[in-house]
Amino acid sequence: MTKENKVKRHLLKRAKVNRSHAGNFVVFAFIFVLGVFMAIPLVYAISNSFKPLDELWIFPPPLFPNQPTLENYTGLFGLLGSSWVPMSRYLFNTIFITVVGTVGQVVLGSMCAYPLAKHDFPGNKFIFKLIFFSLMFSGAVTSIPSYLIMVELGWVDTYQALIVPAMGSTMGLYLMKQFMEQIPNALLEAARIDGAGEWRIFWRIVMPMVKPAWLTLIVFSVQGLWNMGASTLIYSEQLKTFPYAITQIISGGIARAGVSTAVTVLMMIVPLTVFIITQSNIIETMSTSGVKE
């Protein structure tokens, strides 16, 4: 164990003052019961993907397959290989949109959040109110105006029609701003006195301190963009996304019901991996984020 780790362990231990055994027991029981309740449907979805087709229709449905099989997965890959546009093309589109969109959303959102949280410039409150209230307006009725704007810009049937709007995520900005508010002003002031410019302060002090925030934002962003399916803005087959292609394939009726259980699991893998990587990073950053007031 390195020295740094030892210090960290020590801090973790010291953090647990004010804890009684009875209280610990209640907390443990609560978490356990609720955890089982949350897990059942997910376990069920995964186990379903290993059931042979005929077992999917048994009533009452067994929690675990009687004769586990991989045929749903092999069937899926067979179908993926036989489509007109190669599957790798759809996959590339989705990966491209997810990566560029997520990076853009995190960087632009954080950049905007920093002055909104920490600089008292004229118009600050007004800009934030505008963004905050837009968060509460239902997206269901804005799709037609959005489409008209895309037509005006000539962006229909392009990548940027899917990527750029995602970069203006109001939720992401609000998330970053809330975390940045906890950064002590004294720290930023000290950096300014030392001669650091705002750009440097933002990258070297602010962003490292709100690491849990942007790691969380990455999860939301990837989850949203990865699952982006058919869009009214895209009509070329070459530009369509993976989820779109896959829903096309599994909408082939009961015969493809087995394959669709495999799709449910397969689509979860990427957001799930991102989730686990970022979460373990968030938890590692604990109590190492530097000076606090």
Partner: protein, 309 residues
């Protein structure tokens, strides 16, 4: 003399503001890229939608200005809308309330475990948001005598006939709330987890020295006041989420649900916007939903500032 003075001060004010704007030019540079995208792709569509709410607009023909007619109709001639408002209020108050409390409690409890266990538990509670597998609940609450719950209750002799969980008006609201709560630990929950990671442990030690006796006091006097920004974020996302419930109800109860028992504002909005092509009317619904959310949010935000007092 007095007008001269006012002119002076007005002039001075402009000069002062201009100076301030120039001083904060770096801030504007930071804000600009996001703001440009936000104004074009989020704000502008919202503004256009608000404009449509005062028009009759079927997407194919140009919008026709009719003033407040849509709103008048919503309040006076649309009994289903009133049902939708009532249902949405009931559903979202229960779901947002319980879910918000769970976000805080779970974030707090999970924070006490060792890092590895923490990651696993976070995953467990967030998993339903990663994969919205509502169909599993349809099997569990299935209306025939083979559904999990029906079969079990019949075996125990509690009931003699299968219950139509998702269509019987006596049960559907309760069952819908139950299922939606399961998938409600999303954005707000993860942000609370991240927030708890951000609390400085030195604060707890200082608190212990200052005479904080147990975990509840520690939570109320130290952690929650520190986490106010995260609490506000969670509250806003939980409220907006629960007021926007619609699609999940279609899946569970069908469209429309029996006697409009679980019909929400979003269902109503999608009905007019998607099925009937009455965009103007749908936009008016969206405007009212927006006002409702803004109202509820401002009340909750006021309540949150009282934490730790």
């Amino acid at each position: 003399m007095s007008t001269f003075m006012q002119k002076q001060t007005w002039k001075q004010k402009t000069a002062y503001t201009a100076k301030r704007i120039w001083r904060f030019r770096a801030s504007y540079a930071f804000v600009a890229p996001f703001l440009l995208i936000f104004l074009t792709f989020t704000f502008l569509p919202v503004a256009i939608a608000i404009f449509y709410s005062f028009t009759q607009f079927n997407v194919l023909e140009p919008a026709k200005w009719i003033g407040l007619e849509n709103f008048k109709n919503l309040f006076l001639n649309d009994a289903v809308f009133m049902t939708a408002v009532k249902n949405t209020m009931v559903l979202s108050v229960v779901i947002a309330g319980v879910s918000f409390l769970l976000c805080i409690l779970l974030g707090w409890f999970i924070n006490d475990f060792s890092p590895r266990v923490r990651t696993i538990l976070t995953f467990l509670f967030y998993a339903p948001s990663l994969a919205n597998v509502y169909y599993v609940w349809q099997l569990i609450f299935s209306g025939d005598s083979n559904g999990f719950i029906n079969a079990y209750l019949m075996k125990l002799g509690v009931i003699t006939e299968a219950i139509q969980w998702f269509t019987d008006t006596r049960y559907m609201t309760g069952v819908v709330i139950f299922v939606l709560l399961w998938s409600s630990l999303g954005t707000g929950f993860l942000v609370m987890i991240a927030g708890f990671q951000n609390v400085d442990t030195a604060l707890y030690e200082a608190g212990a020295i200052d005479g904080i006796k147990n975990r509840w006091q520690e939570m109320w006097f130290i952690t929650l006041p520190y986490l106010r920004p995260q609490l506000m974020f969670s509250a806003v996302t939980t409220i907006t989420g629960s007021f926007s419930i619609g699609g999940a109800i279609d899946i569970l109860c069908g469209n429309p649900s029996t006697d409009y028992q679980a019909w929400t504002i979003m269902n109503h909005l999608n009905d007019y916007g998607g099925t009937r092509f009455e965009m103007g009317y749908a936009c008016a619904i969206a405007v009212l939903l927006f006002l409702l959310m803004v109202g509820v949010n401002s009340i909750v935000q006021k309540m949150l500032t009282k934490i730790g007092d």
